[in-house]
Assembly symmetry: C2
Homo-oligomer: 221 residues x 2
DNA sequence: CAGTGCTAGATAGTGACAGTATCTGGCGGG
DNA sequence: CCCGCCAGATACTGTCACTATCTAGCACTG
């Protein structure tokens, strides 16, 4: 099909399709002439995936490109999962303009907290992992806000996180022999987060409601 | 203290402090003269909170303002929790330029899935809740990508989400009599998500590693 | 075989967002 | 009394994700 048809079937404007190609998220069509190219189902599928990653998944164009590059390079199941896991952006990052002196001390303490947690959970992750860094930053932030960051609490959350990860991996493993394994794995790894966040918020809402004396119910803003 | 001192103790540039004031995230200082105002600890605290919400929490300035407004208006514990819950942005939103005809059908199916889940979980939430809408959009997306969205799976995730929400609310409830209840509640509700996401990613990483044949380990890109 | 319509690829423009910088008076205090 | 900092307003900057325009050049229709 030609680009205008691709645009019509996916609902993505032609200009955007061209943009995604420029940015390397979408492979070029098979050129049939100097000014004409043929697109196929794989382009339709890819556009869907791009849309899902950027809107629902909340990824930036650059992050989505990295993830999709990992998808395209993938060979083995395990390698794919690992590559995708590292290609996904870390939600919490060290701000480059951090303070100098005493902050380092708080950062050290936070890193120690993280290391303790990882040991307690018997997690096998290198402490160079961006997720470890991110968690340290987040804990440091929480600590500075005098929030409750005690090890017992953390472990409780971590146990639940482990259960969720198990569900995720189970879903991914079920795809072992799927031809589109990498695509599906991306969906599982990248879109579980937002879905879970929604479920958590829903559960929070339910529990807040149950605690509430139902004054002005059912009229959320 | 004056603005330059506030800037120094928090590490936030003077121009940014003024910006946050303009945008209504930070209350004005107590004016001592036409060209001078006095700032206190509450401003220091507020700036910390702003930083946490926007960086770690990933909120936009506008979203942070909404949340902080809810914090400032808060009276009762329950009212505060509810207000904050609704002030937090929903991670997945219906894109306004959605397709017309058949998409409605898929949207209906997705909404039915969500309704079924909520019934199965016995969650008391109005279906006008933005979280319900968001979940419907997310499920619709997953369905379109041929992902595994079967009820059993969803319920499994939902059960875990419930456990997490319980932990969250427990933390918030522990603050009942805290003078800065609203602030702490915000921290709990807004920063649990990113923290949990990090923990989940860590757990994922661990499990991927355990499944892997440790070829080129410990060298993550 | 001429004309219309679509195409690729390049380049430029847009609007939102999150600041950052500058400017204008006007005090404050050593 | 005058140098330096302040408040408030306005203007500017850089990034992001598109969106629009421009320049050619075929392709298919009549």
């Amino acid at each position: 099909m030609k680009i205008s048809e691709l645009s019509r079937t996916t609902g993505v404007p032609v200009a955007s399709i061209k943009y995604f190609r420029r940015e390397g998220l979408l492979p070029a069509g098979r050129a049939t002439a100097a000014t004409l190219a043929e697109y196929g189902d794989e382009h339709v599928q890819r556009l869907r995936l791009i849309k899902a990653l950027t809107t629902t998944g909340g990824l930036s164009i650059a992050a989505a490109r990295d993830v999709l590059t990992a998808v395209d390079r993938s060979d083995s199941t395990d390698g794919t999962l690992k590559a995708i896991s590292y290609a996904l952006p870390v939600p919490v990052t060290q701000s480059p303009g951090a303070d100098a002196e005493e902050e380092t001390e708080a950062a050290t303490a936070a890193r120690a907290d993280v290391a303790g947690l990882i040991a307690a959970m018997d997690w096998q992750v290198p402490d160079t992992s961006p997720h470890v860094q991110g968690l340290a930053v987040a804990l440091q932030e929480l600590r500075r806000l005098d929030a409750d960051y005690r090890p017992e609490r953390l472990v409780a959350y971590a146990e639940l996180a482990r259960s969720i990860a198990r569900l995720d991996l189970e879903r991914a493993a079920a795809l072992e022999d799927s031809p589109s394994l990498a695509e599906q794995a991306v969906v599982v790894l990248a879109l579980s987060g937002p879905m879970l966040e929604l479920l958590r918020r829903l559960a929070q809402e339910d529990q807040v409601r149950r605690r509430t004396t139902f004054e002005d119910d059912d009229t959320p803003a």
